[in-house]
Amino acid sequence: MSKHYETVFILTPVLSDEQAKETAKKFKKQLGDLGAKIVSEEFWGLKKLAYPIQKKSTGFYHLFEYTTDSITLVNELEVAFKRDERVMRYLTVALDKHAAEYAEKRRTKIKGGEGVPFKQPKKEKSNA
């Protein structure tokens, strides 16, 4: 039974917008190769941090939501985060059924509302 996971990670602001998306794609590809099914991906852009991390006060936030059976896949992803020095901080959370349902609702709300910034949703009629 595949479990839901959600990973949020922060990239250093030193990178340009393009490089940030590039590194996110790198991790996404790694997830895909290892057999995780990526449910959704969000890019919150440059956000102000509540406290400085590594002497920096802003960071690029990314979110991956995926389902997988093997826990080793999550560990490998986290090892990749640890190795990559562009990633300042990451957090992986297992979603239980309430959380998954909430994430589902949140996604439809975002799609219905102002749209997920990086991926142009196809203009389906938004019931939200």
């Binding site: 949020v8 922060i10 901080r89 957090l91 959370v93 349902e101 909430y102």
Partner: protein, 88 residues
């Protein structure tokens, strides 16, 4: 120091009506507290960024655990500060 007997009240100060506290999550049927939603979590921390105790917010034990876990995750991701002054 004026002894107590001299202080006389017109009517004895009875404690203000204790209104029944309720758990807002059970009442509004919220099942999951999202750690990414910073401004919702602001309601559960005080000015210094510390978690509000249950006796003030009246939340049930189960949801207080969920709130504290969400706040701690938000702090890890720098969505909420660990210490702050004049947060609100």
């Amino acid at each position: 120091m004026a002894s107590n007997s001299e202080i006389r009240y017109l009517n004895p100060p009875q404690a203000e009506q204790k209104r029944k506290k309720y758990c807002r999550f059970k009442k509004s049927g919220i099942k999951y507290i999202d750690y990414k939603d910073g401004d919702f979590l602001l309601k559960f921390i005080n000015e210094q960024g510390k978690l509000l105790p249950r006796r003030l917010t009246g939340t049930s034990l189960k949801f207080q655990h969920k709130v504290s876990q969400a706040v701690k995750r938000a702090r890890h991701l720098a969505i909420l500060p660990y210490v702050a002054d004049g947060l609100k």
